[in-house]
């Protein structure tokens, strides 16, 4: 055993390895990506024996691959972000009917906020929709325990099991005792056992299977209460956060229920409120607090026991009102006389994240302590002067990002030609920001290519551009490519090929050929795919070579019929930066074109530093700690006063050396 600081996602990976997982597959997506990466790291270090790990082409491919491995008796782990499960929903729904053999655990990371997602969908709902059990950790420690328990549950009932962490569990860290070595468990029955009446789904078999699912779900709900491993995921607390062995150990009229990270926030909030009450000499009324770590199937018998004698129950959960609805249903079904306060009743936040402050404030009201706790302790907080203004700091394309050149080249090639610019999922969604302002739409993975076709059908007078990243191209762009050629849509696909899955932390994909198992396979050529799909006009350019990039874009955009531009330049995460460019202060006119045209974070403007040519305007400057020397601004400056790294090195070798030290 070794003690290590692990992020929730890394702990999940270790738990799966300790549970003997044999096959791990997924597709990157924040906040889930570190799970597969940690498994690959342990395997590469020789500490995880017998495990196969891969980034699959997309989530559907990953889950179907794991379905096969599970039929053969292997323990399997699937990972994705919440919307990734939409892509894999087809195999998930059917797998639950067919059933699994080797334990199949799906880690589906939800993203309340949302912080890095398009939706705030709640995977607990996906559990009830697909009739698949869901476990909901509140801490990395609980996630670790739940993953191990989920494998047992999966094999006990031959059902897939979902563990649903959220961002603040995935990206929170704690210390763990982890096994020094792990070994994949052997296949159940030594491998796949043919049984067409079981593994081949037909309507008659589906009808039977539906009945089996309906029988096992109530049994699983009972296991959640009677099996000590699962009962530990639903702890009960009384006043002073004392653990309760049974609900009736505390006579109370007030109940608190929470799930996921909100349970951890509620514990902190209760501690805060009790401390404040003690300081003010106020009394907190008796309460029971119940964490529900097993939201589906909902343990309704336990809920009824918890609610005995309660008059009001407040529910803290993020995303949907899953626990609130279940408690309301239980009250109706069992004629229990408690009120449920939550999202639906308007008593808790209806969207976004919860936090300790908000829950504490709501608990103070729930306890009727607003007046008693109103007095403050008299120490003023540290506060900024009234006139202080904070600069907004939204995420931006990195300095030197090749996408900046691609977006700029497309805009320059279009000029005033009417156009719709369809975006997609990845770093390049950031192309919508000022001053590039080069993205009009963004829906979901791969949708840019197909949405563009809809625009071209109904607005033939406009040019339609579809940006797609290299990883997204393989994940879900190819069907749209085939559709464009098949139905003859006049669109221009702009492939932003930076040779990696950049936004989620630089994972490999089919276009790189790099695998997590070591050997590099032959990269799949995007150009060959496009050519095979009958794209007749395919042009290439380096997006950081502005003139060539504009010429290539022009050639493709003004071609009649499906066309493609392949902008190829690696992500800055993959290559060493070059020496920063330099702006000649003596010659800068202060026109700001370098800023208003391409908006690179490496160039700032100092209005208090006028130069001989800038009048009173001030001048632009290079932040040498950020500039990576890509040189795009050199081509943009109309007065040629931005000097590329190589020339700067020739002219002022000392200065260039200093800048190069940053590299």
């Amino acid at each position: 055993m070794t003690k290590k600081l692990l992020m929730g996602n890394e702990a999940i990976a270790h738990a799966a390895l300790e549970a003997g997982v044999r096959v791990v597959a997924g597709y990157p997506g924040t906040p889930s990506s570190e799970i597969v990466e940690m498994v690959a790291k342990e395997r590469a270090a020789g500490r995880a024996e017998g495990v196969h790990v891969e980034w699959s082409t997309n989530e559907k491919a990953a889950l179907e691959l794991l379905g096969g491995a599970s039929y053969a008796g292997a323990r399997c782990l699937y990972t994705c972000k919440q919307m990734g499960l939409n892509v894999a929903s087809d195999p998930l729904m059917c797998l639950n009917y067919v059933g699994v053999k080797g334990g199949l655990v799906l880690i589906v990371a939800d993203d309340p906020g949302p912080i890095s997602s398009q939706t705030e969908q709640d995977t607990r709902r996906f559990g009830s929709f697909s009739k698949v059990p869901v476990l909901d950790p509140s801490t990395p420690d609980q996630a670790f325990a739940m993953v191990k328990a989920a494998f047992e549950l999966s094999e006990r009932y031959r059902t897939p099991v979902i563990v649903r962490p959220t961002t603040r569990v995935d990206h929170a860290s704690a210390f763990f005792d982890i096994a020094d070595r792990t070994r994949a468990r052997d296949l159940i029955d030594g491998g796949f056992v043919r049984d067409p009446s079981h593994w081949v789904i037909f309507p008659r078999r589906a009808y039977e299977a539906h009945g089996e699912i309906n029988e096992r779900l109530p049994q699983i709900a009972r296991d959640y209460a009677s099996d000590t491993v699962f009962a530990a995921f639903n702890p009960l607390y009384g006043p002073g956060l004392a653990p309760l062995s049974a609900p009736d150990a505390v006579a109370a009229q007030l109940g608190i229920v929470a799930g996921g990270i909100s349970a951890a926030y509620t514990l902190e909030a209760l501690r805060l409120v009790e401390a404040r009450a003690a300081a003010c000499g106020a009394k907190v009324p008796a309460y029971r607090f119940w964490q529900v770590g097993t939201p589906y199937p909902f343990p309704e018998d336990e809920a009824a026991r918890f609610a005995q004698g309660l008059e009001r129950v407040i529910v803290f959960e993020e995303l949907d009102s899953v626990l609130e609805d279940a408690l309301t249903l239980a009250a109706g079904r069992r004629h229990l006389a408690y009120d449920v306060l939550g999202k639906e009743s308007g008593d808790t936040r209806d969207r976004g994240e919860n936090d300790v402050d908000d829950i504490a404030a709501r608990l103070v009201r729930f306890f009727g302590l607003e007046e008693a706790l109103a007095a403050d302790d008299g120490v003023a907080p540290v506060a900024l002067p009234q006139d202080a203004q904070l600069p907004a700091r939204p995420p931006v394309l990195c300095p030197g990002c090749p996408h900046r050149g691609s977006f700029y080249a497309i805009k320059r090639a279009l000029g005033k030609t009417p156009a719709v610019l369809c975006g997609d999922i990845g770093c390049y969604t950031l192309g919508n920001a000022q001053p590039l302002d080069a993205v009009d739409t963004c829906l979901c993975m791969g949708a840019g290519i197909t949405q563009a076709q809809g625009f071209s059908v109904v607005e033939p007078g406009r040019k339609v551009i579809a940006y797609v990243g290299d990883s997204t191209f393989f994940a879900s762009g190819m069907t749209g490519i085939a559709n464009a050629a098949y139905n003859g849509h006049d669109i221009t696909v702009v492939v932003l090929d930076n040779a990696t899955t950049a936004m989620t932390g630089a994972q490999p994909h089919p276009g790189t050929g790099v695998t997590l198992m070591g050997p590099k396979n032959e990269p799949i050529s995007i150009e060959a795919v496009l050519a095979a799909c009958n794209f007749k006009k395919i042009v290439h350019a380096d997006p950081l070579d502005l003139d060539a990039a504009i010429a290539a874009a022009h050639e493709a955009i003004f071609y009649e019929g499906p066309s493609a531009v392949l902008f190829e330049s690696p992500c800055i995460q993959l290559v060493r930066p070059q020496a920063p460019v330099e702006i000649d202060h003596e010659l800068c006119t202060g026109c700001k074109r370098c800023i208003t045209e391409i908006g690179c974070p490496g160039i700032g403007f100092d209005p208090a530093a006028p130069g001989p040519k800038s009048g009173k305007r001030g001048t632009a400057f290079v932040d040498a700690s950020l500039c990576n020397g890509c040189g795009l601004c050199v081509d943009v400056c109309p007065f040629s006063v931005i000097v590329p790294a190589a020339e700067a090195a020739g002219a002022k070798s000392d200065a260039a050396k200093e800048g190069g030290a940053h590299a």
Binding site: F175, V382, P385, A392, P394, P435
Partner: protein, 202 residues
């Protein structure tokens, strides 16, 4: 309970600072939880790391701080310090780097962001409790270290030297050595020395 917030701009190295603090807490036998900003915000946006330690033997339930609860804020950039000020406890302290990073939005606007003005406003906010504010001349110190990437360790060492943390310089050195690759230990030890020397001469 010891609550620490570390803030900066994506790419500045806040994550390592949080790891070092967690390691130091662990070696003291305290329970510790941390939380990171990972995802789109890392592309040059505002990032925050939370570190919570049960230094009186308390259990740490949640990884994120409540408002007005931070005993210490370590800021890699002055506007980011100002942004998270509502998290600072009335008796809490702030260590911030002086150097501003211009966001593109500010460079585009007619009302650009002036780092010196922001630092002055921070000083004004702490005017009635100057001992709780330390502004680090990061440009000068990092020039002395010879590597800009050492900003995180310089800030941590300054906080320890100022007595803002119940950790010793040796605690810090040990934690850093446990968290960075062996070939970077010497550089970081040097960064700690530079920060300590600056604090002594202040």
């Amino acid at each position: 309970m010891l609550n620490i917030l570390i803030t900066g701009v994506g790419g500045q190295g806040t994550v390592l600072a949080a790891k070092v603090l967690a390691q130091a807490a662990q070696e003291r036998g305290w329970q510790v939880r941390t939380a990171e900003t990972i995802g789109m915000a890392q592309r040059g946006g505002s990032v925050v790391s939370h570190v919570r330690m049960g230094n009186d033997g308390e259990e740490v339930y949640a990884p994120l701080l409540a408002h007005a609860s931070a005993d210490l804020i370590i800021a890699f950039e002055p506007a980011e310090a100002a942004r998270v000020l509502p998290y600072l406890a009335p008796a809490g302290s702030l260590v911030t780097a002086r150097t501003a990073i211009q966001p593109v939005t500010a460079a585009l606007s007619t009302d650009p962001y002036e780092g010196a003005r922001m630092v002055a406003q921070l000083a004004e906010a702490f005017a009635d409790r100057p001992d709780q504010l330390t502004i680090i001349d990061d440009e000068r110190l990092l020039a002395a270290v010879g590597n800009r990437k050492a900003l995180n360790i310089v800030l941590l060492a300054s906080a320890v030297a100022r007595g803002y943390l119940p950790l010793s310089v040796d605690d810090l050195r040990r934690a850093v050595a446990a968290c960075v690759k062996p070939r970077f230990v010497e550089l970081n030890d040097h960064a700690i020395d530079v920060a300590l020397a600056a604090e002594r001469s202040a």
